[in-house]
């Protein structure tokens, strides 16, 4: 299939083998001419299969036999994430929630509880919504940092086609009590680096690091220990807006 989407304010052409990625992108389809085009081949899908096996082994969890249609969606996003670097944007693994016109990104390794914490926000704040529950795009526009919804939003497939200014990034840990604290970027840098897309191409990798350093200088960072008490949402929101 050949179609165009608009993500993070950039128009992207997609040439895919299967229809699944088109269905997934339905909220982002555009008629506008693309700024760049990504196309997928069978070897890209094979690459994603190998990556999923390798990743599962690295994380010590079972690996499932993913369908090629699903793997193609990952191949497309990988190419998009690389292309967006040249538009001052990068992909982050985290859950992005919006409230009162501001976005908050919660990041942590898989399984720590980003989805659960996001659910607490939605329950506590009726006006909150999820920009992207798994892999939002972070983009610099005129030196301001924005969080962008994309179709690639994890197993719950919760995302909004929205671009909002980023208020803060919060790194989540499991803990006995809900407790949030600001942290200097340089202390949390390794963990944040571990949660962004790191391309293997040298130029793209150096561009990523350059954006990440700018990110660290532009955004507030927090760490939060959180438990399964829904009050975690209030603690997080108040902590990131403490004047």
């Amino acid at each position: 299939m050949i179609f165009n989407i608009s993500v993070a304010g950039i128009n992207i052409g997609i040439e895919s083998i299967y229809d699944a990625v088109y269905e997934m992108c339905s909220k982002y389809i555009t008629d506008s001419e693309p700024d760049f085009v990504v196309s997928v081949t069978g070897s890209d899908i094979d690459f994603e299969r190998q990556k999923s096996i390798s990743e599962a082994k690295y994380e010590g969890r079972p690996c499932y036999n993913y369908a090629p249609e699903y793997l193609e969606t990952l191949a497309v996003y990988r190419k998009i994430a690389t292309g967006l670097l040249y538009y001052e944007a990068f992909l982050m693994h985290g859950s992005a929630v919006a409230l009162d016109g501001k976005a908050y990104v919660f990041t942590a390794p898989s399984g720590v509880g980003k989805t659960t914490h996001t659910g607490f926000w939605l329950a506590k704040y009726p006006d909150a919504f999820v920009i992207n529950g798994d892999k939002p795009i972070i983009r610099f526009i005129n030196d301001r940092v924005f969080v962008c919804g994309t179709p690639w939003s994890g197993k719950e497939q919760i995302n909004t086609n929205a671009i909002l200014p980023l208020k803060a990034v919060c790194v989540l840990f499991r803990g006995e009590e809900n407790l949030i604290e600001p942290i200097e970027f340089k202390r949390i840098f390794p963990l944040v680096l571990g949660q962004i897309y790191r391309p293997s191409d040298r130029t793209a990798a150096e561009k990523t690091l350059s954006l990440l350093k700018k990110f660290g200088e532009s955004v507030e960072f927090y760490t939060m220990n959180c438990n399964l008490d829904p009050d975690a949402a209030r603690v997080a929101k108040e902590g990131m807006n403490y004047e």
């Binding site: 690295y58 340089k186 840098f189 390794p190 680096l193 790191r198 391309p199 293997s200 191409d201 040298r202 990798a205 150096e206 690091l209 350093k213």
Partner: protein
């Protein structure tokens, strides 16, 4: 002797970070945090060299340190890199 992976070294203010780039990023899934001296030594190890050459470089840069002091600092550092599989001997 040289670094096994290609790193970009970033100045984070009061410390440095070395992040693998290029194809090596798919082999080493991590990064190094270090002080300025380590970053400097790592720069020397990007090209093929040997402990004596690095020792000489440090002696010229830190003339008030004795050979023993430099040796006692450099040897464990190189051993740490070897142990972490970051150095090709």
């Amino acid at each position: 002797m040289r670094l096994r992976y290609e790193f970009t070294i970033m100045d984070m203010g009061d410390e440095f970070a070395a992040v693998p780039v290029g194809e090596d990023a798919s082999k080493f899934h991590g990064m190094l945090k270090m002080n300025a001296v380590s970053a400097d030594i790592l720069e020397q190890l990007k090209e093929d060299t040997d402990p004596a050459t690095v020792h000489k470089y440090l002696k010229e840069k830190y003339p008030d340190s004795t050979d023993d002091e430099i040796g006692n600092a450099l040897a464990p550092f190189l051993n740490q890199l070897l142990k972490e599989n970051l150095l090709i001997d």
